[in-house]
């Protein structure tokens, strides 16, 4: 029983990290219609930055914030490449973000080498109802909860957030009332970088990060975002938690080598079920 609870809590923490990356994917897709393939890269950049900064002797806190800022800048640059030029279709932008992700490989190898890097997080563990769980995992869950609350407040209560939502629901109408859709798109990319950065900073102490970790991260995040049809953050959060728990349970009960297949198989099934519920016309018009 306590093993089950441990797996459940660990799974929730893994799911939270996926949810953060996936929410970045959702924010960018809602506003710009682009699926950002480089979303996992932001997490990798933040994780690697953090490990370097901590290695240089910067205190905790400052390193994390700097790393998240670096990821935000990476997000903004990706946005400039993907949607900076007018008249590029979302599918072309997807291919551009793919290119940005590969370009990031080159930069990351030059700066950090090709070996996995780790960083110390919160030490120690607590016992919850007979289940031992590392403090870092609790931290991940807490930060994710806070981030989602902040996101909800940002989109629901601030002028900027409302403008972003306006671009998401009807870009033409948003332009008519004087919202610069392209600037909002860039803002969405920066926000996506920020969210990916937070995820990277939280994940690096749980598992070592190397330059090509981004494929696993983006595939998991996309699988989670697919639950919410790439537009609904709350469903995405639920999807990510289900995914994280399912993967951790699979690993815990001895199917660890099939972790990836489970996530990917689940994603394909969900996408096909969703696609069969929509008509071709509604898919082509969006």
């Amino acid at each position: 029983m306590s093993a089950f609870l441990t797996y459940l809590l660990n799974g929730l923490a893994v799911g939270c990290a996926i949810a953060l990356i996936a929410s970045g994917l959702v924010v960018i897709h809602r506003v710009t219609g682009v699926v950002n393939f480089a979303q996992g890269t932001f997490a990798v950049v933040a994780g690697l930055c953090m490990s370097s900064l901590l290695g240089l002797g910067l205190p905790h806190g400052a390193s994390e914030v700097a790393a998240v800022l670096a990821a935000t800048v990476a997000g903004l640059l990706t946005g400039l490449a993907a949607i900076g030029k007018p008249g590029v279709t979302p599918l072309s932008s997807l291919i551009v973000t793919l290119g940005v992700g590969v370009l990031a490989y080159a930069v990351e190898i030059v700066l950090w080498g090709d070996q996995p890097r780790s960083a110390p997080g919160l030490a120690g563990s607590v016992t919850v109802a007979g289940a031992r769980i590392q403090t870092q995992y609790l931290l991940v869950i807490a930060v994710t909860a806070l981030t989602f609350v902040a996101l909800a407040l940002f989109f629901g209560r601030t002028y900027l957030g409302k403008a972003l939502t306006a671009c998401a629901s009807n870009p033409y109408a948003a332009r008519v009332v004087g919202i610069d859709v392209r600037r909002m798109g860039l803002l969405a990319f920066a926000l996506g970088g920020l969210l990916g950065g937070i995820a990277g900073v939280l994940v690096t102490p749980m598992r070592p990060i190397s330059f090509d970790t981004d494929v696993t991260l983006i595939v998991n995040a996309f699988a989670a975002a697919v639950f919410g049809a790439l537009t609904r953050p709350v469903v995405t959060l639920a999807g990510a938690l289900v995914l994280g728990v399912a993967e951790t349970m699979a690993a815990g009960y001895g199917y660890g080598s099939h972790q990836l297949e489970i996530a990917l198989g689940l994603m394909i099934v969900v996408m096909i079920v969703q696609a069969s519920r929509r008509t071709a016309i509604s898919q082509e018009s969006t």
Binding site: V35, A81, K85, G87, V88, P90, L91, S92, L94, I95, V96, L98, G99, V100, G101, V102, L103, Y105, A106, I109, V110, G113, D114, V215, V219, F222, V226, S257, H258, L260, E261, L264, G265, M267, I268, M271, I272, A275, S276, A280, I281, Q283, E284
Partner: protein, 325 residues
């Protein structure tokens, strides 16, 4: 007339090259031909059927493993080589039925996921040899004649490429080819004109898989071993880069794109292995080149190299340049 002469010239140079190249240059020549074979399929799928596949490397792998397994179990190599594209196409038909309900980025991710699953399985299963893969694949041969030299493989590769290009050409210029172009623009409009959208997409998907499978089959006989590490996700991205660079939906574009990228990466590899360069230089340079070429071409040459050059030439010859946006 010009087309005929150019075609004959290209054929002559293609046939003459294996005789004059040394072994290391021949290796590049063979890999170039194999890459072009897969890229023609990608170009057909993306340019004509409008479907993005990020998992073309999976079909390459299926072809290679099929041929390797058959050859290792004593089946004549020629049967293995025939089986490679067939099995890849059947595999594509089976997974295509559910996957092709997806569109755009959904399909891109689903095909990527398919490749990751396949690689993971190949790395774990007994009969595929796990992470080590399959080794000691016999040389290709027909009857008692055995392929001993790289030049023989070069001829086989380029004969395969010629076959692939011929099939593609015939598909494109046929009635189904026009139907494909229609469904790439709008599936709804195509369906309402009486085009069987689903079956057509499936057939093109299977055809592109067969091309990749054939290339995979030749690859396994040439190198003598296959392992999951030979088919990374990057290889699928590489085919996209080649197809986009050359120009989607053009047969020659795929060949030119594959050639340009292969030679560029090869040249940079030589540069990176010069003394004094850091050990990570080859991978960094090739990643950077793939990425930059892909981004620049998608943004500034959206139709690719071949259509852009052809357009410029015909404009120079005929009328004053038209300002296009």
């Amino acid at each position: 007339m010009i087309k005929l002469v150019a075609g004959a010239l290209v054929a002559a140079v293609t046939l003459a090259l294996p005789a004059v190249l040394d072994d290391s240059a021949l290796a590049v020549y063979i890999l170039l031909g194999l890459a072009a074979m897969v890229t023609v399929g990608v170009s057909l799928l993306m340019g004509y059927a409008g479907q993005v596949s990020l998992g073309q490397g999976a079909f390459y792998a299926v072809g290679a493993y099929t041929a390797a397994l058959l050859a290792l179990n004593g089946v004549p190599p020629i049967a293995g080589l025939v089986a490679a594209p067939v099995v890849a196409a059947v595999f594509a038909l089976v997974i295509g039925v559910p996957l092709l309900r997806l569109r755009g980025h959904h399909l891109a991710f689903a095909t990527l996921a398919m490749q990751l699953i396949l690689l993971s399985l190949a790395g774990q299963l007994e009969f595929t040899g796990g992470d080590i893969g399959l080794q000691g694949i016999p040389q290709f041969g027909v009857g008692s004649f055995e392929f001993g030299s790289a030049a023989a493989y070069a001829y086989m590769t380029w004969a395969g490429l010629a076959l692939v290009m011929l099939v593609t050409h015939n598909v494109i210029t046929s009635r189904p080819g026009r139907a494909l172009r229609a469904l790439a623009t709008s599936e709804t409009a195509a369906a309402s004109s009486g085009i069987p959208v689903g079956p057509y997409k499936l057939v093109v998907f299977a055809l592109s898989a067969a091309f990749a499978g054939l290339a995979g089959g030749i690859y396994c006989f040439y190198t003598g071993y296959v392992a999951p590490g030979s088919f990374p996700v990057l290889i699928s991205i590489q085919y996209i880069v080649m197809a986009v660079v050359g120009g989607l939906g053009t047969i020659w574009g795929a060949v030119v794109g594959a050639g340009a990228i292969t030679l560029l990466v090869q040249g940079l590899d030589q540069l990176a292995s010069l003394p004094g360069m850091p050990s990570y230089a080859p991978s960094v340079l090739s990643y950077a080149v793939y990425a930059l070429v892909l981004i620049v071409v998608v943004l500034f040459l959206p139709h690719g190299l071949v259509p852009a050059i052809a357009g410029r030439l015909s404009r120079q010859r005929n009328d004053p340049p038209v300002e296009t946006r």
